[in-house]
Amino acid sequence: MFADELKTLRRLGFRHVLLQVLNFMSVLASGFMMWKGLGLVTNTESPIVVVLSGSMEPAFHRGDLLFLTNPLDQRYQAGDITVYKIPGADIPIVHRVLETHDGVTIKKGRIAASRIAHDQLLLTKGDNNYIDDLELYQGLEWLERQHIVGKVRGFLPYVGYVTIAMNDFPQLKYALLGGLGLLALVQRE
C-alpha cells in the first residue's frame, strides 16, 4: 500500500513534487492572508479566538469559537464581552465588562489614536466568577483600551475544540500535519 504511493511519487518526478509543495504553500499563504485581512477589517489582532477556560460558563465553554471586532470609533459599554490581554500574561482572557469610566487618563501627555474611546477605564468580570478581575490584572488598577483585543460579536459552539485537542495532544498535531502534507504530495489531479 505504502510502496504503491512511493512508486507513484517516483513516476511523477521531482518537478511534480515541487509543484505540489508550491500548491500546499499557496493554500497556507491564502489562509494566512484571509486571517490577516479579517484582522484589518475588524481592527483586531485576532478576529477569531477559541475559549480556553470555563470562567464564562454557561455562556461560553472550552472550545467555543468567538468572533471579535474592535471598532475604533466605539466606546465599550458595560455588559460587552471583551477579550483582553494583560502585558506579561501569555493568554488573552474573555470576560464581561463590569465598569466603564470614560474620559479619564491614567498617564498624562499621551495622544490617543482615535477621537474617542481611548481614554476609557474598564473593569471586567467572568460570568462564572464571584468577583471582578482585579487579581488577574497583574498590578494594574484598570484595563485600558490598549489592553483590549476585541469585543465578542458572534459565537459558534465546539468548533474550536480541535485546536484545544491539538494543544493537549501534540502528537495529533504532527499526525494531522504530516497526513495533510503526504496527501498533498501524492495526490494526483
Binding site: G79, E99, H101, G154, F155
Partner: protein, 197 residues
C-alpha cells in the same frame, strides 16, 4: 466517487458546506425575532457608607448600597397611575426574548452617571443569568451584588445616576444582541454619607 475513500471524501465535503449553510440560516433566523419587552425598574433606597479600598487598606473609599425593584413586563400600561402600582399589577416577562436559538439571557442592572468633570461612568451592580424560558419572569427586590464605588473614592457632589436593566441575548450560534428592558423614570440622587453605627 468510485472508491469508498472518494465517496467519504466527496460526501463529507458537500455535507460540511451544507452544515455551514444550515448554521448561517439558524444564525440569521434569530434576527427575525424582534421582541423588545419593557418593564419597570424602581430604586427603593440608596445608602452610602464609608469603608476601606480593596488594595490599599488605609485608603478610604465610599461604597453605595442600592436597593431596587425589578419587574419586566411586556403589557404594561404606561400611565402615571400604573407606574405607581407597578409592583402589584404587572406580569413580569422577558420570555419573548427566548426563541429556538437563545441559549441564555444575561441580565444586568447598571448605574450611569456623569460627574462634574465630564467623566462618564457606567457600573454594573447586579446581574442574573436566565437559562430557561420559564425563569424569564423577572420580579425581584434586591440589592447590589457588586461593589459600587466612585473613581474619586467619594460620592459627595456626584450628580444623580440613572439606573437601567439591560439584557444580552446569547445565541446557540450567531450574533450576540443587546437591549434595554427598563430604566428609572428620573435620575436618583446619591444620599449623604452615613457612618456605620
Amino acid at each position: 466517487m468510485h472508491t469508498i475513500y472518494a465517496r467519504i471524501n466527496n460526501t463529507s465535503a458537500f455535507l460540511s458546506s451544507c452544515v455551514t449553510a444550515l448554521l448561517v440560516a439558524i444564525a440569521l433566523s434569530s434576527l427575525a425575532f424582534t421582541a423588545d419587552p419593557k418593564g419597570q425598574l424602581a430604586v427603593a433606597s440608596i445608602q452610602v457608607h464609608p469603608g476601606n479600598a480593596r488594595r490599599y487598606a488605609n485608603k478610604k473609599q465610599e461604597f453605595a448600597f442600592v436597593n431596587f425593584n425589578v419587574s419586566a413586563g411586556t403589557h404594561l400600561v404606561m400611565s402615571a397611575r400604573a407606574v405607581s402600582h407597578v409592583h402589584a399589577c404587572s406580569k413580569p416577562d422577558l420570555s419573548p426574548l427566548f426563541n429556538w436559538n437563545t441559549k441564555q439571557l444575561f441580565l444586568y442592572l447598571s448605574a450611569e452617571y456623569t460627574d462634574k468633570k465630564g467623566v462618564a461612568n457606567e457600573v454594573v451592580i447586579w446581574d442574573r443569568i436566565v437559562r430557561r424560558k420559564e425563569d424569564a419572569l423577572i420580579s425581584t427586590t434586591g440589592r447590589n451584588k457588586y461593589v459600587f464605588r466612585e473613581l474619586s473614592a467619594s460620592f459627595r457632589n456626584i450628580p444623580p445616576a440613572n439606573y437601567s436593566l439591560k439584557y444580552n441575548v446569547m445565541p446557540y450560534v450567531g450574533v450576540l444582541t443587546y437591549g434595554e428592558a427598563a430604566r428609572t423614570p428620573q435620575p436618583v440622587a446619591f444620599p449623604e454619607l452615613q457612618s456605620l453605627s
